[in-house]
């Protein structure tokens, strides 16, 4: 089968946004946690695909990660950038299908420090398909929605949309991805579920 895009642009793994870079940049970062991260961080050559979510490791203060610190855009990015592309042996982060600046959390995590577990939080992810007519945009969007709905607490509402102007049928794809009933039915389709499971295999 011909691939929709045989020669996608690929980002170098080291250029992708990570929690670590962010903490280095932030002068007020938590030093102790940072050191733990550095010590426990796997060497780059072992990090393929790179799934070093800081809070997902047993060695850090991850147990109550949901309640102590609000989930921020970087955490959302870490959850979905490691999803595999359905047709390339690369991650959605490497292909720049998902990008940190295109993740929006409402209300903003900095504003909602003492979040009530019942308060609805919207996570909006705008994806950039590798080419404008990529027929797999729906499958990629579905994978992101499923990944986030499985990983996030139930008060999160996940909206996945095609970034404006990057896809020729974005309204149609957006409407499908927003339809709870269609998403539920898609997950009961064995073929589609198989594709999704494979995409999500590379997430830990």
């Amino acid at each position: 089968m011909d691939k929709d895009n045989a020669n996608p642009t690929i980002l170098n793994v080291s250029e992708l946004p990570t929690r670590l870079n962010k903490k280095k940049a932030a002068a007020t970062g938590k030093v102790a946690e940072l050191e733990v991260d550095i010590v426990l961080r796997r060497p780059e050559y072992l990090s393929a695909p790179f799934c070093d979510l800081p809070w997902a490791s047993d060695d850090t203060d991850s147990d109550d990660g949901f309640t102590i610190e609000p989930i921020d855009e970087q955490e959302i990015y870490d959850l979905i950038s490691t999803i595999s592309d359905p047709e390339h042996p690369l991650s959605l982060g490497q292909l720049a299908v998902v990008n940190l600046p295109d993740i929006y959390i409402t209300p903003s995590p900095s504003a909602a420090a003492a979040a009530d577990p019942n308060t609805l939080t919207q996570v909006l992810v705008k994806i950039t398909p590798t080419i404008t007519h990529c027929s797999l945009a729906t499958v990629i969007g579905l994978g992101i929605r499923v990944r986030l709905e499985q990983a996030l607490p139930p008060n999160y509402r996940v909206d996945v949309m095609i970034k404006e102007g990057t896809h020729s049928q974005d309204d149609q794809v957006n409407k499908q991805l927003a339809d709870k009933e269609r998403v539920a039915a898609a997950l009961e389709n064995a073929t589609l579920k198989g594709v999704l499971d494979k995409m999500l295999e590379t997430c830990t």
């Binding site: 019942n118 308060t119 509402r157 409407k175 927003a178 709870k180 039915a185 009961e188």
Partner: protein, 452 residues
Amino acid sequence: MSSHDPPTPVTPVTPVTPVKLVPLPPFKPDLYERAWQSVPHPTLPLLATTHQKSVTVFSLSTLSAHSSLTNGHERSVRSTTWKPNLPPHKLCLITGSFDSSAGLWRWEDEGQGGSGSLEVEMTGGVEAASEDKDWELIVVLEGHESEVKSVAFSPSGQYVATCSRDKAVWIWEDVGASETDDEWETIAVLNEHDGDVKAVAWCPDTNRSGRGRYSNDVLASASYDDTVRIWREDDEGEWVCVAVLEGHKGTVWGVQWEPNPKTDRFPRLLTWSADRTIRVWTLKEEEDEAEGAPRHAFGGLGVIPNTMRRSLKEEWNCTAILPTAHTRDIYSATWSPETGRVASSGSDGVIAIYGEEASDVDGAVGVVTEDEAAAELDGDVLMSNGHSQSKPEASKQWKLLSTTPNAHGPYEINHVTWCKRYDAGCPPEKRGVEEMLVSTGDDGIVRPWQIS
């Protein structure tokens, strides 16, 4: 009515006659998984809840499980409908499933010889069905190409409508020689929607009429194509689309007919949508409707199918948009036959209740213009008090009476329905009379609510 008047700035609606929702203990057991819909039996104290590949029937007397329908569908059961007009020891449900089929199930209380335990239950008894009685899948209605989203029995029980992601509505007729002879025939396949058909609903008996060349039965369908269509059977036995209701700006998740009109007019329609609005539609009833079809009922001639004869059309107008109460998709709304109140729920986990001011219900009815609708969608203007008093403005009659956030904690609420109370917490003289609300959520909880 002029659409050029600038919208008047308004303050949020304050409840007129405050209504409070008080949670009652949920039905037992918890289902622990997404439940889609809970449908009360038309006359008996039973409630059928669809979840995963099964249906759990709860007793409204004991608020616990009565029986369950399992091992009939390969994928989730999305919706169900009770067959009406059966004797109390016989139960019949039709289920619509993501496996593309609809199933007809029966449950019979043979041991009671015609005066079943259900009647005992209704007068205050307690027993759930004994374990050896079970639901049996009798007939599978096959034909849809993809997920069946909704199923509905007509008021007489003669017809069943089903609808699917394949964009079609099917009408099936019971042609069996007797009640136990389950033979069903497809009598219509309606292919005019441009997207998934999300819901079908039959007009109830009250105030329904044959209207010229049509028979009494009237069906409404709601779709992913943002429209609602109304279907009737003409004098040649053909089911035809008599109106396309355009106005919603997103998937129309559902439709319900006015269950108990206060006047002798034709029942109105209630529709709710991913556009976060709930709309009321009214049939323009006039003597000379055969002459010259009203153009704007169809929002332009382009959408009139070639097969539709002009004289067959009905003019339905959006006569109200309920006050804004939701911030995400509205998955469900329910119109009470007792109080005329509407309750709604959806992705935001809020249950809202609205009331219609009793006065002037059958007076001049205003038509909501597109400008006003757009303003309502933007959240800039609340229809209920945003306009000058001189105009006949139907939407002014609807007030928001209460909103209950987090009615299922952080979870989405897929369904709400009004339903009669039979539980021990209700004074005996009010059992079967007093209404409660039942909500069904992604948390697998089916919760009754007392209205106070």
